[in-house]
Amino acid sequence: MAGILVFVEQRNGVIRQASLQALSEANRQAGGDVAAVLVGSGVGDAAAGLGAYGAAKAFVADDPNLALYSAEGYGEAVAKAVESAAPDTVFFAGTAMGRDLAPRVAAKLGVDALADVVALEKDDDQLVARRPVYSSKAFATVDSGGKKPQVISLRPNVFAAEETGGTAEVVALDGLTLTIRAVVKELLDTGAGEIDVAEADIIVSGGRGLKGPENFALIRDLADVLGGAVGASRAAVDAGWIEHKHQVGQTGKVVSPSLYIAAGISGAIQHLAGMNSSKVIVAINKDPDAPIFKIADYGIVGDLFAVIPPMVEEVKKLAG
């Protein structure tokens, strides 16, 4: 095979949407010359179904010691699949797991990796990649000069997942030694059922304009009716109003949802860098000169305390 091998991520047997996106993109780029590698414990049943997203073959590493993620264990399994498939390119979804695993696997293969790729183009025999740098203040186009394999992680929610139908031939990966020195003992659910900003399709963020932690309830109300996640500016996080995991920006999370609503956020350059690749940006701010309006597709100059409650009601009406 000279095509693309895709690491398919699962947690508790559930396959990540971002991995299906990566698989579909592999199918578009390699025209069917695509294999998947699935790693976990008791995950074999899901493997054949990956054919529906374009995998002709699915390598499966199934072992109780792989029930929870580890860079060493999963890295060994993926390297073994690379050895069998000899692909030109290895794709990972750019999730917490993919962004951790891709560089470890690349180093094992003795090559560099590209993180957070947002566009791919075929040029002769290689893939040319575009990735944001300086938190999307600029974009770099890079190539490997024909060197192979290429190890690439794709930014989630940028590439479309496409069901094409088909069944994958399942191949078991045997003979793994699994020397795991950094062991995940458990996965604590710190989200309390909330949608993580890194994965959300809609984000409503609050900043200093909220004036206090209690007013994040307004942001939460709007996020809830929209089925979105709650984000925050660094100012709100540093003031202790909300946890760091909600922070959007250069030292928080860089996001690109379909809809980003910034309320009471003036738009420091570090914040804009973290969200300016969102598809639709909405700003709600009292200050008409706030920098956030310069990148907003829609905006309201006004008091967020007067604007958000009626917005919540209007959205409820839409839901009927």
Partner: protein, 259 residues
């Protein structure tokens, strides 16, 4: 407990990015270089560990002459010694080359922990730590916002989507550090004065047997600014906030098709 802290110097996060004349690097005119913000959590953690358990903190960087300022900053905050591998002029360096350089530079040094930032702000790759751990054949835990270090092992909290993995690892190990782990200290005047007398071991990258030109795997073809955004629809909502809210929701539904 000896700690190595890998730092990189990056443009201040408030920098306006302009493209340089070669179209492949940023224009460095007027850029203020700082220690990458995530590296500050790595340094702080190393300082706290050695303060509690003894041992030394060695700060290591790979970069051109200007990167020495980052090492002086680390020394001023309390690092005991520093290693400067001189090279890496390209502002968008190749992660694997950087990892190879660091691995070579660490040969023969004793350490229990290597701490890095979770990513270099700017290149935004977040790959060097994992690659360095693989090259050194030690375990790593990335994106750490909670840490307890014992005699021969550590327990780390690693942030993932919607949760935190609780990871136990043997030592030596490599960690990449995330906001929330600690509150980085500032350098005091006394520390800044003392830093001037602390040793910085300088190594030319070529002396490590690494050829930056031929060893680079990826080449930047071009660097571009994002296309400028067209002007948005801004509604004046001071007088009739409810009306503005209704208009906005309607636009998001019918025009933007975003909800």
């Amino acid at each position: 407990m000896n700690c190595i802290v890998c730092v990189t110097s990056v443009p201040d996060t408030a920098s306006v990015i302009k493209i340089g004349p070669d179209g492949k690097n940023i224009d460095e005119t007027g850029i203020k270089w700082i220690v990458s913000p995530f590296d500050e959590y790595a340094l702080e953690e190393a300082l706290q560990i050695t303060e509690a358990k003894g041992g030394e903190v060695t700060a290591v960087t790979y970069g051109p002459a200007r990167a020495e300022a980052a090492l002086r900053d680390c020394l001023a905050r309390g690092a005991h010694q520093a290693v400067h591998v001189i090279g890496g002029e390209a502002t968008l360096g190749d992660s694997f080359t950087i990892a190879k350089v660091l691995a070579k530079a660490l040969e023969g040094r004793e350490y229990d922990l290597i701490l890095c930032g979770n990513m270099g702000v700017g290149t935004d790759c977040g790959q060097v730590g994992q690659m360095l751990a693989e090259l050194l054949d030690i375990p790593h835990v990335a994106n750490v916002s909670k840490l307890e270090v014992g005699e021969n092992s550590l327990t780390a909290g690693r942030d993932v989507e919607g949760g935190q993995e609780q990871v136990e690892s043997s030592l030596p190990a490599l960690l990449t550090c995330q906001k929330g782990l600690n509150e980085p200290r500032y350098a005091a005047l006394k520390g800044i004065m003392a830093a001037k007398r602390k040793p910085v071991d300088k190594i030319e990258v070529a002396d490590l047997g690494i050829d930056e030109g031929t060893d680079a795997y990826y080449t930047v073809r071009s660097l571009e600014l994002p296309p400028p955004k067209s002007e948005g629809t801004i509604i004046q909502g001071e007088d009739d906030p409810a009306g503005a809210a209704a208009q906005l929701v309607n636009l998001l539904r019918t025009e933007a098709k975003a909800i």
